[in-house]
Symmetry: C2
Subunit: 218 residues, 2 copies
């Protein structure tokens, strides 16, 4: 598939490389391609992933079948609005971001929670896109390789209003090796998936590593 | 040990019966003992647990070594304040409640979250009590019998500022059969443990049962 990943931080780069390994045609979107390509962390990574082109958010999204929002949660809604509803209409928009607010230090608080979620804000910003909340519950390295944690049999989630879009995301997850994929229902369930991060960040402190995940035993 | 459970709903009754099975001397605390003893759900249960006496919150707490708050989250702080700092001073106060607000229907929202927690509110209400947030992450039946879920190897938590108090609670958990008990640090971690409930209630809807739990794989 033609997959565009918005965001060139660790999460965006890790997902982009993972999708490319699985045979997809990947493009990375960023605000300022020239600036990003000169950023030290990015240029080092790009040297090993030369086949993944870099474009503006809007240009990168234009030709994609699936768009992944891996931008900073604080900038996600404005980034998606900047891409515009026209370029995202009808497309699967996978939101992997979390509404983290580090302004008070660690652990971060959530800038939206409980009565709304970032996933829902993004769906409202581009109503004709088919938003699926996914991958936000684990570390980037685990997103693309669940076998890094325990025996690999842990749980990941999808939530969204469009069944076919969720099926597409489940397929991408299965390619990464995920087998226990729980469908939480509509995009409103993003509230629960994002609030899990309040426990996740504290567990990272307790365990001293982000390399863990939950398995839902039932 | 002499354990007093505050609250005569399903959670309080289940914990009280569980502690009694494990050989503890248990008392149940309620606002109005006469009214509670005539409540249909309680009198039926009491017929099978005649050895567990019922007293006012304050009387029940007076002689206890460990006090368990299993009251409705919306009433927990005022109940604890009603018992009073004098009767709780130095005691282990296990807070199993969640700040659920059902006023907008299901799923409930949280009346406190992110920048504060019910566990912290209770600790502030009785500063000389040794508050431990625990058991709030699972269904009542699972609290006292983890083997009801999967192979019984799932995760439960303690959080609190007093190490000896947490050790006491770990002991009570171990008697119930818990083995993977994660110490989250100080009572501030109650924020993460309570916000997990936002995901838990949606999982209960998805699975159609409260008989599940997370295992933290690391």
């Amino acid at each position: 598939m033609r997959i565009t990943v918005l965001g060139t931080g660790v999460v965006g780069r890790t997902l982009a490389a993972g999708f490319e390994r699985n045979g997809h045609l990947v493009t990375l979107g960023t605000r300022d391609p020239a600036g990003t390509s000169h950023r030290d962390d990015f240029s080092e990574w790009a040297g090993q992933h030369g086949a993944i082109p870099l474009a503006t958010y809007a240009d990168a999204a234009a030709d994609a079948e699936v768009v992944v929002n891996a931008t900073n949660g604080a900038a996600s809604v404005s980034t998606i609005e900047g891409v515009g509803a026209e370029k995202l209409a009808g497309k699967v928009l996978v939101d992997v971001s979390n509404p983290l607010d580090f302004s008070q230090g660690f652990p971060p608080t959530l800038s939206v929670k409980d009565t709304d979620s970032l996933g829902e804000q993004i769906q409202r910003a581009v109503p004709t896109a088919r938003v699926v909340k996914a991958f936000n519950t684990v570390n980037a390295a685990v997103m693309v390789d669940p076998r890094l944690v325990g025996d690999g049999d842990t749980t990941v989630f999808v939530a969204g209003d469009d069944e076919a879009a969720k099926e597409t995301v489940r397929g991408l997850m299965t390619e990464f090796g995920w087998s226990d994929i729980v469908d939480m229902g509509g995009i409103g369930a993003a509230r629960g998936l994002e609030m899990w991060i309040a426990l996740w960040v504290r567990l990272m402190g307790t365990f001293g590593t982000p390399m863990f995940n939950l398995k839902l035993v039932r």
